[in-house]
Symmetry: C2
Subunit: 259 residues, 2 copies
């Protein structure tokens, strides 16, 4: 039986979901969050859908066994590939996903040019295709698969020359020609500064804040919101063994994403 005093499970194919976790903690400071990074199997963005479903299922199962009252899939690729399946397999637990924030970007810049940066897997999945189809009549949507970017971020360096070169190669051609950028992968907010340098000083949209508010709505509806007097908190675990990985997670958690 789920309980308001239980924790919320959060996972990603690696440490990208920590950008979402920061939004969750900011929106719901009384909740306990247990973050699991599947860094051993990262990146999901190059994998086949079935494979992503299997990896996600194993994580959700473990988080539910441990007593999670809700699960946040803090990964765009895993959400697009696995969220619907997992909701059908675990009907008693709220499963919240994250998706490219195309809607607010198009609403802010109707008929504008919107650059969507995401993994190859996310862009190839039907869920994203439908989202793009829905909004592409109202703006020029430019999807770019940023192959290799998650890999570099997983190494822990978010400002290296290599990262700058890769971003330049993927989206350099759009410098000063787009109205807004949608970060369609939870890893990318950690390199937002570099992307801004390359693309130009335009508004950025990511799914973190929206996901956090969805979680609040869902927990409230189910009477699962932690009591106001509860001490919130965050704990980290990873499929990659060793203290080093967890230190990396904590370092990413401390990065200020507001600037």
């Amino acid at each position: 039986m789920q309980d308001a005093n239980s924790f919320v499970g959060v996972f990603d194919s690696g440490l990208g979901g920590i950008s979402v976790l920061k939004s969750l903690v900011s929106e719901l400071p009384h909740e306990q969050f247990s973050f699991f990074g599947d860094s051993l199997n990262s990146p999901y963005g190059d994998r086949e859908p079935d494979d992503i479903v299997a990896l996600s299922r194993a994580i959700v199962e473990r988080q539910l066994d441990a007593g999670a009252k809700a699960v946040v899939i803090a990964c765009n690729t895993a959400t697009a590939a696995a969220a619907a399946t997992l909701r059908n397999e675990y009907p008693n637990v709220p499963i919240i996903g994250v998706e490219p924030a195309l809607k607010p970007a198009v609403q802010a810049f109707p008929q504008g040019r919107i650059l969507v940066m995401a993994t190859a897997a996310t862009l190839a999945l039907e869920k994203y295709q439908r989202l793009e189809e829905h909004w592409s009549g109202q703006a020029e949507v430019i999807p770019v698969a940023c192959v290799g970017l998650v890999d570099l971020i997983e190494r822990g360096d978010v400002e290296s020359h290599e990262i700058r070169e890769l971003i330049e190669r993927h989206v350099g051609t759009y410098r000063d020609t787009v109205d807004a950028v949608v970060l369609g992968c939870t890893h990318y907010p950690f390199v937002r500064k570099v992307i801004r340098d390359v693309v130009g000083d335009v508004p950025f949209f990511d799914g973190g804040a929206g996901t956090a508010r969805q979680l609040r709505t869902v927990l409230t509806a189910r009477g699962l919101l932690a009591p106001q007097e509860a001490m919130g908190g965050v704990r980290f675990s990873s499929s990659k063994p060793g203290e080093e990985e967890l230190t990396l997670y904590r370092r990413f958690y401390d990065i200020n994403l507001e600037t």
Copy 2:
């Protein structure tokens, strides 16, 4: 040229959008909102799509001429029928719509039974059909066209025997058999108490809070958010002449929807 000190236009086919307006004011207390109720042409829910587009266009045009920096379509039917067209016709102004909150309802109750109450026009439009198609694999979605309900609410009485009977007739059969109710028409939050009496004490989802947060995101992205020191405010106007109608709007604005 749009200006942060300008106002936000808000409109509905009548006074239902005042439920959204309350969410907007609560989320963005420094903004000036100009609400227009098209009570003369209410309800939109029984009209043809082309007709709804023409009525909505005329209102948006007037609000933009008056200097609105953004427009909120506080009507599910007008959003589904006209939002995409209007965004293409007025590419320089953010146009925010409202839609049935199916997503949070399904995320909260995967595999649950979700009752969606809306106008006949909203349920018939492609936009809603696609939304339902997307979520119906993950829950049992039960759409009910509540014909006549907007008409009764427009008369200003939200607790009459007639309203109770109409709601009973439309959704009485679902008493204590659904997990959640989606209010897919902005008029319906004003009769939530009666719906709860009829359907049972389950969570209700409406689009007001989500729309308010979208507006905040969009104004922020475009640098159009009112300054913190600005005095926010609300003014009302209506296509129905006479002070009586505006008095009705103000009375509805004062109804507490939280309980």
